[in-house]
């Protein structure tokens, strides 16, 4: 292999990522009203949580923090996870409806690489939304935070593998059963209830609390609250980070294997473009 070919092979994933990010950015920008609608949605949701926490009063301090920041981080992280999976699912659904999925599967890019690169784009968009959400919560609604930057970044990075697995699982369900939206809605409701988004999981009956402890999102939300609201150090966060890493190591290969299997079966059955 000569050096030009080698350089070209090394540049190839970056080049593809650039192409995917550019496609998604141009599409988002050209949906003129999309950004404004998102912003209005963010402020409406935050206002609702702000007044809910005021109505409940300052006496309620879940895990020792004020209720509004508790809600801000819980709903922000939950929305980041579920919307990332939703973005993934929508991309697959849209590709099935327009016929681009079949064509994408005939390009030189292996399906798994394509999915991972697409997910980076989906996460980048939702990460911007999460940052806007948290920033608005702090700047406009005066949520008090004591952030440890490195711990926040570490929680985010370890959570990404889990969010990626969730997104790939949603895409797999869409390819396999063409009913990914319904299943994601069901899964999203379960996660919302069990992951401590709105209230501490210790409030749940014991069996449900144990179930909540088996949900990876619980640790992502709890970790982000401790990093962002309590400023806990990396050392103090180590057990939570280890659990997040463990979930990622197990779930991501499983999700990729499931996707690979469902794509192969769709190619065998001729159902790639069914929706």
């Amino acid at each position: 292999m000569n050096s030009n070919t080698l350089t070209s092979r090394m540049n190839s994933p970056l080049d593809k990522l650039h192409a995917i990010l550019r496609r998604d950015l141009l599409t988002a920008i050209r949906h003129r009203s999309g950004f404004v609608v998102t912003l209005v949605g963010v402020f409406t949701e935050l206002a609702a949580f702000y007044f809910l926490s005021r109505a409940i009063g300052p006496g309620f301090r879940p895990n020792g923090v004020e209720y509004f920041p508790f809600l801000l981080v819980g709903t922000g992280v939950y929305t980041f996870f579920v919307m990332s999976a939703q973005a993934f699912l929508s991309a697959v659904q849209e590709a099935q409806q327009t016929g681009t999925l079949e064509v994408l599967m005939t390009t030189s890019t292996p399906p798994a690489e394509l999915v991972i690169l697409s997910s980076i784009s989906a996460f980048a968009g939702n990460l911007v939304n999460l940052l806007v959400y948290l920033f608005a919560g702090v700047a406009v609604f005066r949520a008090s935070i004591h952030a440890n930057f490195f711990s926040c970044v570490a929680v985010l990075i370890f959570s990404l593998a889990i969010a990626l697995a969730l997104g790939i699982a949603a895409a797999t369900l869409q390819v396999a059963f063409q009913k990914g939206s319904a299943l994601l809605w069901l899964l999203g409701s379960g996660l919302w209830f069990l992951s401590g988004t709105m209230f501490p999981i210790q409030s749940l009956p014991r069996p449900l609390e144990l179930l909540a402890r088996a949900v990876p999102l619980t640790y992502a939300i709890d970790g982000m609250r401790r990093a962002l609201l309590e400023g806990q150090s990396l050392m103090a966060m180590a057990p939570t980070l280890a659990v997040l890493a463990g979930f990622g190591v197990v779930l991501l290969p499983l999700a990729l294997a499931g996707l690979s299997l469902s794509l192969r079966r769709a190619r065998q059955d001729g159902t790639l473009s069914f929706y």
């Binding site: 080049d15 496609r23 390009t107 890019t109 065998q268």
Partner: protein, 268 residues
């Protein structure tokens, strides 16, 4: 060496009714799309696939592109098996599908081509030149910066051909490529096909247009109900009428067609 080899290929589509389909009439079953079909295509050869709707033409093209996997037999492209070496096969194959809207609607024609070219690993420093070239070949130069959501059916179809060409495949698969094209674009496209064959590209083209077959084909494959009825050379200067007569003779469809015409009272 043959560029494309189909060896006893069988493809069956199994229909699974929906899980909770108590009210509907949908039942399970299967359709045999291809029954033990074998053929090969050499380098620089143009093979035209003809046959009635549902005869298996598109299925054959999709199997070569790796969009579908065979149930039995093997499909090889450039010596690589489409099942085991799908990645290597994809690097060699470009396909223009019949679905017109398989593009990102809020990207322009050149942005769409740039996206697919990147996924096909066309080097970045060559991409702009190649995109310009294929847009010129398909008559879309003036629409390069138009969002494809504003395209007509014919323009979508031309863009589909441009997408298949931009990676410079050694095997080009075209599914009814001139269905929505105007006469001038069609003539230009046929010239492009012959030029590509001269440049050593193998072309497999599915069509219902016998004039197209007469102009571009080196060989004609006739599929009927999933079976290969004929695999024959197309003579230099052989007319569209001669090919159409061959098609009707082989499929027996002429009797059915004439019956319909007589019943409608429009026979000459």
């Amino acid at each position: 060496m043959d560029q494309v080899v189909f060896e006893s290929v069988r493809k069956i589509f199994r229909h699974r009714p929906a899980l909770f389909n108590w009210l509907g009439r949908e039942r399970g079953g299967e359709t045999i799309a291809l029954k033990d079909v074998s053929f090969s295509a050499g380098r620089a050869e143009v093979l035209v696939l003809v046959g009635p709707n549902g005869s298996g033409k598109t299925t054959a093209l999709k199997l070569i592109s790796t969009m579908l996997l065979p149930d039995a037999g093997s499909v090889r492209v450039g010596g690589f098996d489409a099942r085991r070496d799908a990645g290597r096969v994809r690097r060699q194959v470009g396909i223009a599908v019949a679905a017109e809207r398989s593009f990102f609607p809020r990207l322009s024609a050149s942005e769409n081509l740039d996206f697919f070219a990147a996924l096909d690993e066309v080097p970045r420093n060559e991409r702009a030149r190649r995109i310009k070239e294929v847009l010129r070949d398909t008559g879309l130069e003036e629409q390069a910066d138009t969002l494809v959501m504003k395209f007509s059916s014919g323009m979508y179809q031309r863009l589909g051909i441009a997408r298949a060409l931009v990676k410079r495949p050694s095997v080009l698969l075209l599914d009814e490529p001139t269905r929505s094209l105007d006469a001038a674009t069609t003539a230009h496209f046929w010239a492009t096909i012959r030029r590509l064959a001269q440049q050593q590209t193998t072309v497999l083209l599915a069509t219902h247009n016998f004039a197209e077959a007469a102009v571009v084909a080196d060989r004609l494959l006739l599929l009927h109900r999933g079976e290969l009825l004929a695999d024959r050379a197309v003579g230099n200067g052989e007319s569209a009428d001669a090919l159409r007569a061959f098609y009707f003779r082989m499929t027996g469809e002429i009797d059915e067609a004439m019956g319909t015409i007589y019943r409608a009272g429009t026979a000459p």
